[in-house]
Point group: C3
Chain length 378, copies 3
Amino acid sequence: MATFLRTVESFVQGARTMPQRYYVGDEVFTLEQDRIFARSWLCVGRSAELAEPGAYKLQAIGADNVIILREKGGSLRAFHNVCRHRGTRLCEAARGTLRETIQCPYHAWTYALDGRLIGAPHMQEVAGFDKKEYSLVGVALEEWEGFIFINMASSPEPFDEVYAPLLGRFTRFNLAGLAVGRSIEYTVRSNWKLVLQNYNECLHCPTIHPQLSRVLPYTSGANDLTAGPFLGGFMEIAPPHASATMSGRSCGLPIGALPQEDQRRAYYYSLFPSMMLSIHPDYVVYYMVWPQSPSETKIISEWMFHPETMAQPDFDPSDAVEFWDVTNTQDWHICELSHAGIASRAYVPGPYSPRESVPAAWDREYLARMSDGMAPRA
Amino acid sequence: MATFLRTVESFVQGARTMPQRYYVGDEVFTLEQDRIFARSWLCVGRSAELAEPGAYKLQAIGADNVIILREKGGSLRAFHNVCRHRGTRLCEAARGTLRETIQCPYHAWTYALDGRLIGAPHMQEVAGFDKKEYSLVGVALEEWEGFIFINMASSPEPFDEVYAPLLGRFTRFNLAGLAVGRSIEYTVRSNWKLVLQNYNECLHCPTIHPQLSRVLPYTSGANDLTAGPFLGGFMEIAPPHASATMSGRSCGLPIGALPQEDQRRAYYYSLFPSMMLSIHPDYVVYYMVWPQSPSETKIISEWMFHPETMAQPDFDPSDAVEFWDVTNTQDWHICELSHAGIASRAYVPGPYSPRESVPAAWDREYLARMSDGMAPRA
Amino acid sequence: MATFLRTVESFVQGARTMPQRYYVGDEVFTLEQDRIFARSWLCVGRSAELAEPGAYKLQAIGADNVIILREKGGSLRAFHNVCRHRGTRLCEAARGTLRETIQCPYHAWTYALDGRLIGAPHMQEVAGFDKKEYSLVGVALEEWEGFIFINMASSPEPFDEVYAPLLGRFTRFNLAGLAVGRSIEYTVRSNWKLVLQNYNECLHCPTIHPQLSRVLPYTSGANDLTAGPFLGGFMEIAPPHASATMSGRSCGLPIGALPQEDQRRAYYYSLFPSMMLSIHPDYVVYYMVWPQSPSETKIISEWMFHPETMAQPDFDPSDAVEFWDVTNTQDWHICELSHAGIASRAYVPGPYSPRESVPAAWDREYLARMSDGMAPRA
């Protein structure tokens, strides 16, 4: 009951869903790319993916493409995958290993792994040409809890300021120490915002997720982040279930030294704009949501476990994977039905209930970012 | 000869085809959806398709989607397939049977079959929320001669006023009593208007339809509706043919108690904007034309027969179906060639002949609707 | 060294690649169709393809489609493939033979092979209708060195004025007398201009074309056309190679009575906007570049040989074909990588080196044409 009151308190009476133009058509989509995806900290995977010096991966963000690599010195760097000569993509394979340099496959302009231009055939014949002016365009990069975040803004908001509400908040879950046991990529014919709104409420759970609802009753738990870029809370795992798995049993060692109450909770948080993070006692799932067009979204989800769980000879992530794969598929499908309906001339913004206070808060954050492209100030 | 004079009389000297912009590009297409398809009475099939209470079908109209259902009381109703909560499509299967209610698959908002919202979980917690304000958005519906027509306008022109020229006109053909024996769906890479213009003249018949021309000489008959939203007339079935079939033989019982002259006529009418109706002594074909994009059109055609014809053990509609399927395919192909040519920078409006007075009249009706979206007044 | 100096002399210091908007989006693409492709002389193939009277081929140019035919009298003519009645495409097959006339497949309007309308059923019933006003829309056509060029402008710049720098320039190569031994069509996911720029420099050759670079060292030779619509020069065939073939051997008779120096040269010229011409001692390859969209280009390439070479019983063009097919494929791939990179928000115009003076000159010609659509005056 206390929980319920907290939710109601955070609810803005009269909150409504957003107008059709935010979901349909290229105008808002282009503006989102500029004001949100080009200026926000975006999760692009796990630091452990790029373990060895020279290891790199590519990340597409709309029409942009970013190289994320580990330098010889061990630190991670990110650069736009664009040669400063004639704009050619430098790296083509989705992931791989770079030797000492990045060399453009077109005219062999050559960059050090810190982005400095160190070779440019025949450019010395151009009066005033200075290699220093043609370093790769850098992309800001930070690590947090084992996740890599990048930001394409020229002067990004400092990560530690933006992420202040989360710093230290998840220490007990040992996120940095977990290992990925399984990845699944989904394509959804829906606007990306419908995916975020869907994640941010469980009012739909009894209708769509009968199995999940038995394990995680939607009226249990509470939201503890109810405004701003980070939103979410927890639900309680209903006995006799020990975790959110197909069997109801735990699928591995506890991910950390958890206090009693966390051993029976499933936490869910959305990290603006496009990361979703679900924490269970024995495993974590996180999602990276990538808009492809106003009506298509790509979602990468990864299941993480304690390394000792994964080291066990009979390790099988499927009990956890299948639980959320079934649930995800149900969610993506309803997002597609929402998208189709919102495109109709009959659609008008409808009323949110108190049980949808978090999607309503997410919309407020989104609209504030869209209005000036900066995080709203307190 | 009298026939020919009648056609010439109705011909506006100097009439020309429409400019390229009406066939190419999104601007006119969007305007057509708003000014024509969102405001006109559109045929969406046969009343008999939805025989049982609770039976429904969906109809896509551009980005819109309409539920057409039979209420428990027996009357037909139509609603936008859009939940008033968050816009989700309520029904997904193209046709089916509803029990007592329509329930949204997302958060279980529940509507009676007359559109009233009767359940909305947790919305009672929202101050001032009143279910009465959240009925499904209704779509006007009328029946005529066994056909269902819908109109998405908020204040549609009364059907009986618009259809006054046709009311009672086809009584002798027993249209309401006929049954559908076969349906075929076609996709044509052409603007939808080229399909209507093509239907409205037979000057092309000797060139394109050699077989049809032997049965239905294009200089026979006369047009009896030569202006306004309803256009067309008849051609005479040339002896020794008894009907417009592959064999030349009648393919069933007369559709009604026809006067002598109608036993040897094929009538063809276009009903603005997108219905085409071809009446033969022994069967009827009608078409529903659905624009998908400026350059793609979906056409549903259905062949109807006297129920007693269909009840015969050896009933085989193929003699009639094949005759028009061959002819349709020839027509759609020439529409595609026209569409391709009209997209050229060399295209300019060309002159209609008196034998194309009906397409010219169709264009006038179309342009009048596009200019203000309302039917032109006399 | 003299060569190198010549290249440097023609280089404009500070030249940079063009801004992103020229490569991405529909606006510039549409303008290019109007200002360049609708007003320039475009190579559409070889005169010998249409040897017999009545022979025709179709050429798509954006949304336009042109019929190129040989009249009974033996001369070549070109017309828009658009009926003056209702705009229908007259010819549908990509190539074929016309008898005495071109008849529209829709309503049988009939044109002589010189474009005059000679039949139009029922149009005599239209007051004032005069067949003379409804000839096919003509397209200017010229022949040069066995190539057919067309120009869709209503008052095209005279071919002989535009092509003055090339008239007589290639006489020794006997181009008009060569025969096509092989054609290959490529589709490239790149803007068409990147294909032209790529062709116009060999700075990329050591990086991309290791095999070609052994035969044709990029620092050899010189450019002899360095400004205006025609650009290019030659490279020297490095001993022991006798030609640019897989084997390094000559693949046939000399194409003409070549002076000593031309027996060891490979010439390459781009003819604005979309023709590329590569001349070797023993064969010629030419390319026609057809933009399909901002990001897709179709390229037709044809290999030509001395007719006596082709008449030899063991004639096999593959030694020459494979050499350039491999090279082309390498080029198209790097054009695709350039296109992808240029679409990024990180792309800004980059510096050309003196070794890229020809692409820089091509860009200047392009920009001049785009600014007013006419060839720049001296």
